[in-house]
Amino acid sequence: MTIRDLALEGIEQSINGLLALDPVALQRLARLHGRCVGLQLDGIGLTLYFVPGHDGRLQLLGSIEGEPDCTLSGSPLDLVRAGDEDHGHAQLFAGNVRIDGDTALAQRFSEALAGLDIDWEEQLSRLTGDIAAHEIGRGVRAAARQGERMRDVTAANLSEYLTEEARLLPHPFEVDQFLTDVDTLRDDVARLEARIALLEKAGPGDPQ
């Protein structure tokens, strides 16, 4: 539970950090205030739900009740690749994408986000286990973040183990997990800050 929420928090903060540098994207998303867009990743059984707020910043939910207003589905690889290409054609997925529900909404959401330089590989690796992370990473930016990914994966596996067996487990593990969570959160915040600082230096925008 906590690791998942931590991942969602991290992804949400990263994307909102990028959005803060892009007033045009924020404005576009603000027009979608309160609408719910599902982003479904084929093959890894993962759907993320994004809800733009009044100011265009996104809230990310791991589950919702009922159906989203629209769903964009595609392969994780296409999502990751879209970020590698020029931003000219501006779609969220590089390859095929399926749209369910409100097509116009899906289009507008996809266009608003496509201009951002979101590192989806890194973002998704926060959430998915080893197989999926490997799948996503293959041939994209393979070696670079291996160390970091290994750490994430260990944390994810541990958490799964703990959730599934929680009732059978002796107590120290939970204490341990709490402390690990705390550490991870701290690392996460530090990494995020570094990233934002970097972006602030690089970007022409006024992130305030």
Partner: protein, 250 residues
């Protein structure tokens, strides 16, 4: 818990029921300004994750009406206002004017307008019509309320049929080692931190004590059922340090 008639808890002290509200007000008056910072420090930032899960369990849909009690600086109200969309409505409320003031300023700074209202209200006696809200929430607030049962009943009354209530609150750790660690933390580390950051060890000692005096998971669930709620469930977070109780009105 066994109070003498007319008596209630203020942390570990037993005080006149009529006195508790003003004592609690004193605590939050004194922490209002440093509240957000303390929240992050105290919980190592984990309170954000607890709130995230509460938001998912709220199951908000666009257009809904939400009442957030004991909003403080409004972490939940902020997110709710974005989730209900321009057609929905969120009432951010607190018994404490200083807290509500800080919270309201924060909401305005963030550009919220149109779908949010502010009200200084006591969770025990909600000045709202019956069957008004789709969701009523109280996060880290119920333990400060003098008559908790009364507050739960008021929440029930304010909900529309089909609506739900969420109570996010400190609870009882589900295992011993964690409980001990947590004791050391809350009675030794926390007040010292409160002293350093908010210059107010007393308020944070109250915090630790009030958490211990709060009904545990099962007791609170019973109280929620007693108030009329159905399909009640409990989620333990971080080993039961915090729990989310949920109940529906049908």
């Amino acid at each position: 818990m066994d109070d003498k008639p007319g008596q209630t808890h203020f942390g570990y002290r037993s005080v006149d029921a009529s006195e508790k509200a003003s004592l609690v007000r004193g605590v939050f008056d004194s922490v209002a300004n440093r509240y957000d910072l303390m929240n992050d420090l105290m919980s190592f930032g984990v309170h954000r994750l607890w709130k995230r899960l509460a938001i998912e369990l709220a199951g908000i849909r666009p257009g809904q009406r939400v009442l957030d009690l004991a909003s403080g600086t409004g972490d939940l109200a902020d997110r709710f206002a974005d989730l209900v969309g321009p057609e929905g409505y969120v009432v951010m409320s607190d018994i404490n004017a200083a807290m509500l003031g800080v919270g309201r300023d924060r909401m305005i700074d963030r550009g919220h307008a149109g779908n949010i209202g502010y009200a200084q209200i006591n969770a025990e006696s909600l000045p709202v019509e019956d069957d008004t809200f789709d969701l009523v929430t109280i996060a880290f607030g119920l333990r400060n309320v003098t008559d908790k049962q009364k507050a739960l009943e008021a929440m029930y009354r304010a909900l529309k049929p089909g609506g739900r209530a969420l109570v996010l609150e400190f609870s009882k750790p589900t295992n011993r080692p964690l409980e001990r660690l947590y004791d050391v933390y809350s009675f030794h580390v926390l007040p010292r931190m409160g002293d350093l950051v908010a210059n107010d060890a007393e308020s944070y000692r109250y915090l630790a004590e009030s958490i211990r005096m709060h009904p545990d998971q099962d007791t609170l669930k019973g109280m929620i059922e007693q108030a009329g709620f159905e399909r009640c469930d409990v989620r333990n977070l971080t080993g039961g340090i915090v729990a989310i109780h949920r109940g529906f009105k049908f």
